[in-house]
């Protein structure tokens, strides 16, 4: 076949980066509710939905971003040294290009990568144990499979995606819409069921031959009898246990969350279809649905956390340099239902899981109660230990509070509130000019000291005077 040569316009479009811009993803959806909701349409989304665009410095000078019209310098190059924009609309009725800065997500990504954390598969972090769950990389060949991967032939292989929808998270309307598509595809599904039936009968025949030792009929091809198939379909309809396995396999549905008790399955035997053993790469995906993205979400491509942080003076360290976390919501907030403090590490909101006690007097300043007196807002030092992306595309970060040992090699100290200057009532009333030093060592109780002053005898005028009197008499 002769290849049709492209017209100049088609060639232009084919090489255009503008036309290579991907479609925007749907913004994260909230659960349907009958209550009023609080939201901000201009807040940073939990994950980016539009591509971020940069332009080389030579083009940036001219305002050329490869779009329909140049972008103004006032909001791009004049505002930032490394402007990154995202495009809401290439063209509008007002003949403007609708764009905004994408730095919120690009800088967050940079900050996250500075934590040197590998991405892990999600796992439940339990509050009862102080240990974070073990790291398991989503890039392992055994786990890094979709429904079309070749690696699925391995019986131990797991996948992170099914082609069917996750029924447990669907609303009734979505489920009805899905049922419609299933009904429309009934001929195809029945064809798959026939293939399933043939494969099943073939293995049954082989097993029977192995058991009986009669291998004469094993080479004759299996003849498909429609009546036999219809009888099989009928038997499936009566038996919900074997029907469940067939449905989940043919429609390639992700397994539903496990039911809490077998008693419930027994009670709803007519409507509960036993799913086959889950092949999802993480148990969290079974509980809350398979992930929307790759489990790493492209945030980090390192596989292991087995790095050693070498301090120039103190040598290898177990933990890397702690990072500062901002207290976004202190623990004792008026309407704080969870009772946990919420912090921000590298622009990612993290629940402070390390606080066990409700009232924490030894903890960092500002984490117990909101304190407006701390300059720049309350912050404390943490060691991030685990990062994963949950099935809604949000980053789950787990971090420990930095201990004295992890902070010490870097000379980091927690913020200390300034001690209130307390002046004794006696002094304030006496009219004495000199305020005694309070941070000197106190004299031992009961030792000879006429004045109970804390100052050392050397520079205490009273003691000096008394010594002088003694030496004179």
């Amino acid at each position: 076949m002769v290849r049709v040569s492209l017209s100049p316009t088609a060639n232009l479009l084919r090489n255009s980066r503008l036309f290579a811009l991907p479609q925007a993803l749907t913004p994260p959806q909230e659960q349907p509710t009958s209550r009023t909701v609080t939201e901000s349409d201009s807040a940073t989304l939990p994950h980016p939905i539009r591509a971020a665009i940069v332009t080389p410095a030579s083009s940036l000078l001219k305002g050329d971003w490869g779009l329909k019209r140049p972008l103004p310098a006032k909001t791009t190059s004049a505002r930032s040294s490394r402007p990154v924009v995202r495009l809401n609309a290439l063209d509008t009725f007002e003949h403007t290009t609708d764009f905004e800065s994408a730095a919120d997500h690009t800088v967050t990504l940079e900050k996250f990568q500075e934590l040197h954390l590998p991405m892990s598969l999600p796992e439940k972090v339990s509050y009862s144990s102080s240990q974070a769950p073990r790291h398991s990389s989503p890039f392992e060949t055994r786990l890094d499979n979709t429904e079309t991967s070749a690696g699925l032939d391995d019986p131990a292989a797991k996948k992170f995606r099914h082609s069917g929808p996750y029924l447990a998270s669907q609303t009734e309307a979505e489920f009805q819409a899905y049922l419609k598509t299933v009904r429309r595809n009934k001929p195809k599904i029945m064809e798959k069921l026939r293939e399933y039936f043939i494969a099943k009968r073939t293995t049954e025949r082989r097993k029977q031959a192995q058991d009986s030792g009669n291998f004469e009929e094993i080479d004759t091809p299996f003849e498909f009898v429609e009546e036999e198939f219809q009888a099989y379909v009928k038997s499936l309809r009566a038996d919900s246990i074997s029907l469940g396995a067939v449905i989940f396999q043919i429609l390639d549905l992700p397994p539903p969350p496990a039911i809490p008790s077998d008693m419930i399955a027994h009670m709803v035997r007519q409507t509960y279809f036993h799913p086959p053993a889950p092949k999802l790469s993480s148990d969290e995906y079974v509980a809350s649905g398979p992930p929307k993205t790759h489990p790493s979400a492209g945030l980090s491509y390192t596989r292991s956390h087995a790095l050693l942080y070498n301090h120039p003076r103190f040598g290898p360290q177990t933990y890397q340099r702690p990072v500062e976390a901002r207290v976004l919501r202190p623990k004792g907030r008026f309407k704080n239902k969870g009772g946990k403090a919420v912090g921000g590490v590298a622009g990612i909101v993290v629940e402070d899981i390390n606080a066990m006690a409700f009232n924490e007097h030894e903890g960092p300043a500002g984490i117990d109660q909101f304190d407006a007196a701390i300059p720049g807002g309350a912050k404390y030092w943490v060691n991030p230990v685990r990062a994963s992306v949950n099935s809604h595309g949000r980053i789950d970060l787990a971090s420990y509070r930095a201990t004295v040992n992890t902070r010490a090699p870097y000379g980091i100290t927690e913020y200390q509130k300034p001690k209130p200057k307390h002046v004794s009532r006696v002094i304030s009333q006496s009219g004495q000019r000199q305020v005694p030093r309070l941070d000197r060592a106190r004299p031992l109780p009961g030792t000879f000291s006429a004045s109970e002053d804390l100052g050392s005898p050397a520079d205490n005028p009273e003691t000096l005077a008394r010594d002088l009197m003694k030496s004179l008499t």
Partner: protein, 191 residues
């Protein structure tokens, strides 16, 4: 001793008994000093606990004062942060916090997403109560977020329930009110 009276002392606050002891100590001879020292120390230890308690009390009062000064400012942090949110500096700005204070109607029609007809729900007073004000008025579609057809059905269902005597017309159902009171007394915020 005049100087002594006016100089700062950690023991000053405990009253006159100790200063009397101190004067006595001043007059004692060196021979009995050892025994006197231990007696003195025991007096000191006895007197120390109310002192530290008083100091702790003072610190607590100062803490509470600081908290009470910060509390009006805390009200301006209106955003409920959820784990996994991403924030940039502008998300902490007063302009963003003002946006998070506004309550919007739900963006999707609940009855559509649940595939329910509100008119058939007229016997379910807990659903009906969600679409009534505390004084029994049917909520506007600005607040309910229902599409026009479902809003009409919902309004009709409420009128039907009131007309049948299943629900009072000037307040919510007594069972709902009781559940509200119980929830409030348990410190929850379900309602």
């Amino acid at each position: 001793m005049a100087l002594h009276l006016f100089s700062w002392s950690p023991l000053r606050t405990i009253g006159s008994t100790f200063s009397a002891a101190s004067v006595r100590r001043w007059n004692w001879t060196a021979a009995s000093s050892a025994a006197a020292t231990t007696a003195h120390a025991s007096i000191l230890n006895d007197r120390k606990s109310p002192l530290s308690r008083r100091r702790a009390r003072r610190l607590f009062i100062e803490d509470q004062k600081a908290v009470n000064e910060s509390r009006p400012l805390e009200r301006f942090q209106t955003r409920e942060w959820k784990a996994g949110d991403i924030y940039a500096p502008h998300d902490l700005s007063p302009a963003q916090m003002r946006r998070w204070r506004v309550r919007h109607s739900p963006p999707t029609d609940v009855f559509d997403s649940l595939n329910l007809n509100p008119l058939t729900m007229y016997k379910n007073f807990s659903i009906m109560s969600e679409y009534m004000t505390p004084t029994g008025r049917i909520k506007h579609r600005n607040e309910t977020g229902l599409r026009p057809v479902n809003q009409r059905r919902m309004a009709k269902a409420i009128r039907r329930a009131v007309g049948l005597g299943l629900m009072p017309s000037v307040h919510r159902h007594p069972e709902i009110l009781a559940a509200q009171i119980q929830s409030r007394s348990e410190g929850g915020s379900t309602y």
